[in-house]
Symmetry: C2
Subunit: 407 residues, 2 copies
């Protein structure tokens, strides 16, 4: 029997992970969430394409389907503000593992304005601080499994070398000649949001060293897909599908545009290469990470939670091929390299048993079962980007308006 807390269990990755873990008879799952993701939807005037239920309805539906034994607990705690709340929960449940998704996870939102930037920093940093402090001061000292991001690595600032799983071999000149060292891969985040995950890394390394905590950091690529085996079981269990300019990923934007027969808008040349993973694989990765903790005294275990890489233009071509919708190239609202290669190592989780779902295999179902099915709920005005960080706000804004107008 494993007792597991899922922090941020109301979110896009958190909810299906909580269900996936709860589906296994060995686990007892409790979700901890302050429901902030729903508040931000309200703030942005956006909502999930898929009609998500309230937390209470979700939990009731799950208990109805899975039975009382498999029921998921819920604690509405703001982990960024309530140290004793989280400490008390840990001491009462004595969890074996804590899965930590409870962070503001949109890069564009974090770059929107001073308030969203400060909120993102404060929330993500103070949350991780309290979780780590609570674990260090708890009786059960649970294994922490954190959802990080591939975005901490940047895109190849060390040269043409595969991005390793967290730690980079380097040679350092010393008085005794060149010496090999394995160091935390030098970070190069692209937004305030990504920066907070770099900050998390610094904290994990420190707490693992000071208090012997067992910590796994999963550097995840862009997640695609919506449903998992559990979220499909009942309409009330359906997962989020975000398509707005802040929370929607490039793939979801394409899917939405295809569903409403709008040209797929590729920013720049589409030569940006990104790493991807399917949501069904995400939930399996979390399970595998929980089952394979580092030992006390080990450094932080870092796994790249990624199964394949694609150029944005290739992705557009894939969806264009499946749907017959054309591609339109537009100036890029982000300050980033126009083109990049991205070679990422991802052997750890596959070594634990992950069998990847590929975009080529899974995309068609996503087009038909989600994007087309719920296209009538789409608010076309929220699809264009609304955060700009290339220093050309007016031009990009105009462009955003043009895109919105064109939809």
């Amino acid at each position: 029997m494993s007792e597991i807390l899922v922090l941020g269990g109301d979110g896009f990755c958190g909810w299906p992970t909580a269900l996936h873990l709860a589906a296994h008879e060995d686990n007892r799952v409790t979700i901890v969430d302050n429901l902030s993701r729903r508040r931000i939807d309200d703030e942005l005037g956006a909502e999930s394409l898929t009609p998500i239920s309230t937390m209470q309805t979700r939990l009731e539906a799950w208990e109805e389907i899975a039975g009382k034994e498999r029921a998921i607990g819920f604690a509405e705690i703001d982990i960024a503000n309530d140290y004793y709340g989280i400490l008390d929960l840990i001491n009462r449940h004595g969890p074996d593992a804590i899965v930590h998704f409870a962070e503001q996870r949109s890069a564009p939102y974090s770059m929107k304005n001073p308030e969203t930037a400060i909120y993102t920093s404060d929330n993500n940093e103070a949350g991780t601080t309290r979780v780590l402090t609570a674990i260090a001061n708890s009786e059960s000292k649970p294994h922490l499994v954190h959802l990080g991001t591939m975005g901490v690595y940047g895109y190849g600032h060390l040269g043409k070398t595969p991005i390793p799983e967290g730690y980079q071999e380097v040679t350092v000149p010393t008085d005794e000649g060149p010496k090999q060292s394995e160091i935390l891969y030098p970070a190069d985040p692209g937004s305030i949001y990504h920066m907070t995950k770099v900050v998390d890394q610094a904290k994990f390394a420190a707490y693992a060293k000071f208090y012997g905590l067992r910590i796994t950091d999963l550097h995840q690529g862009i997640v695609w897909g919506t449903q998992t085996d559990q979220t499909k079981m009942d309409q009330r269990l359906i997962n989020r599908f975000d398509y707005d300019g802040d929370y929607g990923t490039v793939l979801n934007r394409f899917l939405m545009q295809a569903a409403i027969k709008h040209p797929l808008t590729v920013y720049g040349t589409g030569g940006q290469t990104r790493a991807f993973i399917n949501i069904q694989d995400t939930v399996r990765c979390i399970e595998l990470a929980i089952k394979n903790p580092p030992e006390e005294g080990d450094r932080v275990a870092i796994h790249n939670q990624v199964t394949e890489t694609y150029r944005v233009s290739e992705l557009a071509e894939l969806i264009s091929g499946l749907t017959g919708v054309a591609i339109e190239y537009l100036p890029n609202p982000r300050a980033e390299a126009a083109e990049n290669d991205l070679v990422v190592r991802h052997e750890h989780l596959e070594g634990f048993g992950l069998e990847p779902t590929t975009l080529a295999d899974g995309l068609l179902e996503e087009v038909i079962q989600v994007a087309r099915k719920y296209a009538h709920r789409a608010d076309k005005s929220v699809i264009p980007p609304s955060s700009y960080w290339n220093g050309e706000v007016p031009a990009a804004k105009q462009l955003g308006d043009k895109v919105a107008g064109a939809v």
Copy 2:
């Protein structure tokens, strides 16, 4: 004319820096402080050996001595909680530079208990977040000069190689053969406090990259000495001298012990090598850093604010030699290597014109003018360590009690 804000200008380094900068006719100085250091004194039941005045008395005394033209302004703002307060101040003053000392700076305090750990993280991280966000959103985009610490480097985890000024040359294996890169020196902090300075580094790199901010990070060694040219001018301008187990440095502990004729307590073998700088040099370094900003678009400028290194045992011998007081060796309350070499590069600030004050030259004055002069104010019970992070609290605590009892 330079307009300068000194955040944390009521503290041990901040106050003499504010005076030093204000003494120059080209500068206009405003202190920003929430007076938290005085609150922590109350919390710990400790106080400065030297009788420091209230902020109001300090400012009045300075204006009396230096004249209305040189008067220092004061804004009581908690930068960790008041973004608009700091933004408004920047926009009203249009400073050329902001000196950022406004952080909880005791490593033992940060390791004391969950509350002091969380306070240290929250305060230091949220303060830096707001200062950076305010600068990025200000009109004048002032140069930020931050007081970092040598403690971000750790002690030689990359092997026997001098610690560089912020950036380390490494060779990375790539598909095109070995490639040279200069990376931020891989951090290895020794406490939550030091970890917050690692977090600061991550934020500085990000904000310099995202918003082109001009940032200088000064990695300071252990500061010794109390008075500067300005703090000596009037009894009401006197600087702090901390000798309690949390805020007192090893050198101040020795000075106090010598003054009250108690054996100098060396933890462990005293083989720990540490980097030092005199307070008079600190204030000059800040001035030199302000005068030598990086360009917009440059990476963060990092200077090691250090002038010499000593083993703790050598330091004890130096003071024992000056005062005739014996040395006593005790178990170490910190989790750290018993012995270490420390070779630190410190060429940047000397290149800007710093002429170092050495311990061998300045210590005697410190013994006579400060430690002996104010020894009658000493509270002997606060000298032993009260934070332990070697996992042997009971033994170390017993030891602390023994030390306290022996005084």
